[in-house]
Subunit: 415 residues, 2 copies
């Protein structure tokens, strides 16, 4: 059987102008990939009749499923619905069910029903529509010669709701999709080029499995995928993942779609430990990342961003003689910071960063990107020197990641 | 004269799989828009010969300029270059200049010259190539019947370099582009629907100017654009912007492509004031944002992320009786925090946040999203109650923005 393929058509002048990143397409692609329906084309066009017609025409010749976002808004000059009617040779009519939904939506928000709102219920005669509890524009479904067309609003929140709550299930029911099996290993601290070299002998033995090396700021994601109905093939997938896990175990921080701060939070929770932070180089980013995780208040006690020398001395008890002799950007200062914050906050563990984030601040002996990071847990301690790059934000992020990774390794007794 | 239009073709399986967001297209669109060459189509396809040929064919029928990213990597199974040769009916040959560049690039990095690297210099016979100091794959230019094709690697850093340093100038020289004039007003605190209503009477008088309302997390960006060679038309643009500025002046925080944290930093610098922060609700985000700005160490003294009640009392001198009587999430606690951190850090100004970021932590009287934010400068003080939503990260971000906006208003004596 020929594998079925999807196309996304994004209608959006803002995307074309470069004002908006097309994250809608990314979201849809991932959702469809997870049910075994790969997206093979993404087409972004202007909100113009001719362009919409042409894109629908092209998609009709090649895709089994076409998902269209944007252009269904309430503005009166909106031409998408008229164009849809024309393309499918259908008329338009007020849909009373949708009108009820629109009225309810507005009433719940104490907003008046305007003529423009009423127009939202004027729809091309489609095969089915998708209700929209997050807004006033419903989704539209057309089915033609085994092809499925889903029209959705461009508002990310409304589009995501429709895909997640309706379209994914509709596709599963309507198409015969071969199940897809995904596995993920997130690595940190192993350069991509060496990773490929190291793993190649193992990967070569599993040619049937699709593998992607995806570099991110923190490290490289390894994604494995097989599309199959056979259990034995899935077992092969798991065997490959297990082999790789064994080969580079200490560099893998998770096999889930989560970030390092969540992994660290889970470790701290499991080991019933608390943590505090003292940041100079990373300027509050570690605290921000840790507190992005719901429930982090259980293990996260606080974070002192001590940017000035005075605050390092006053709050963290860094010695004046240390700052004078070695400077604020030194191994010695990092150690005194990590000890100082642990003591002050009465936490089990602590992290500290000091460095030169750039672009200014470099001295003859201390270049931009130099950083010292210390972590502590009870009376075990690690401190390391890092050489990051020249971009301030990237440096902060790499510093924060390095601090969390050092603490993860300390908690797991790695090295 | 018919306006000239560009198409972007992104070759990338990672984008189609939803693993990577197509920020390359966003970057190119903005760069081209700034020189008056709007992108009218973005097409994302798989790295397959048939797809590449078809996309190039389609683009040749409609676009004046075609920019292709991706598929020029060093991997031996790369089929893009072969496909390009076929499409333009040209042969391939080793380009000795490019080979020199590749050798130099590798030598500078102490990397050996492999057979794969050498292949980078094997190029379709194009009309010109673009040197790549950031990597080993050069860009390729073909010119056919007034159409211009630019092929670039998909690595963002290499692609951006080529667009910024070469392609933009090449297009300016080669095409007769009508200058485009852009203006921006970034607003905060004025809901989009009311904004449109309020400004419509003014906007209607300037039908020749393109206006986009772009909602962002912080507020709404107003973008104005006119493509013209006539100075009088540009004067109209500036008159419109001036009228809108007068109409909603206090809600406009900048007319530059910068964020609120940078605007606030500039104000603090100008007024020679220092700032410190005490964060509970926003968990370090304000410190992170402020320290994203180069040179912030001049005015930013430090940030105490006091997540626990104990740390609020110990570090910020919040009174036990206040916490017991009003709770940590209260106007009274916010005020004691903002005063405490100002005193402790000896700063001129200070900001403080306390609230329930969610999803947990709500009580009968205090729902998720409730927050109190206080700002202080010398002995002037503002404290306000906010009701944000249910999403933790969005809440943190809105809290941080609100704190910075309150301080901006205090510094400018708005309200």
């Amino acid at each position: 059987m020929k594998p079925q393929r999807a196309e996304i058509i994004s209608i959006g002048n803002e995307v074309l102008a470069g004002y908006t990143v097309n994250t809608n397409a990314t979201y849809i692609s991932r959702q469809l990939m997870s049910i075994g329906l790969p997206v093979h084309w993404v087409t972004t066009i202007a909100d113009e009749q001719e362009e919409i017609l042409r894109a629908l025409q092209t998609a009709s010749t090649r895709a089994d499923v076409v998902l269209i976002t944007g252009g269904l808004g309430p503005t009166p000059d909106d031409i998408t619905k008229k164009t849809i009617s024309e393309f499918f040779h259908v008329g338009m009519a007020i849909n009373s069910e949708v009108l009820k939904d629109v009225k309810r939506f507005l009433k719940e928000r104490d907003r008046p029903l305007t003529e423009i709102n009423k127009q939202q219920a004027l729809l091309p005669l489609c095969d089915a529509y998708i209700r929209n509890p997050r807004g006033t524009a419903p989704g539209l479904i057309f089915r033609r010669e085994k092809r499925h067309f889903y029209f959705m609003p461009g508002v990310p929140d409304e589009m995501k709701y429709m895909v997640r709550e309706f379209i994914v299930n509709d596709l599963k029911k309507t198409l015969h999709l071969i199940p897809v099996h995904n596995r993920l290993l997130r690595t940190i601290g192993f350069p991509e080029s060496f990773l490929l070299q190291r793993l190649n002998p193992i990967l070569k033995k599993y040619p049937q499995i699709q593998i992607a090396f995806l570099p991110r700021q923190i490290g490289v994601d390894l994604r494995f995928r097989i599309t199959t109905e056979q259990r034995r093939e899935v077992e092969k997938l798991d065997r490959l993942v297990q082999l790789i896990r064994e080969e580079i175990s200490e560099y893998i921080f998770t096999d889930q779609e989560i970030e390092l701060e969540e992994v660290l939070g889970q470790l701290l929770s499991e080991q019933k430990l608390t943590v505090s932070v003292a940041e100079s180089f990373s300027g509050g980013l570690i605290g921000d990342l840790l507190t992005n995780i719901p429930g982090s208040s259980v293990y996260f006690l606080g974070d002192l961003v001590t940017y000035s020398n005075a605050s390092k001395m006053q709050l963290l008890n860094v010695q004046k003689s240390t700052l004078e002799k070695f400077g604020a950007v030194s191994k010695q200062t990092a150690v005194e910071m990590v000890r100082g914050v642990q003591q002050l906050m009465h936490s089990d563990c602590s992290m500290a960063t000091t460095g030169i984030a750039g672009p200014g601040g470099a001295t003859e002996t201390k270049p931009v990107g130099l950083a010292y990071i210390a972590v502590r847990c009870k009376d075990k301690e690690i401190v390391k020197e890092f050489h990051f790059g020249s971009e301030r934000r990237v440096n902060k992020r790499r510093g924060a990641n390095s601090a969390m990774e050092l603490l993860r390794r300390l908690l797991l007794n790695i090295e």
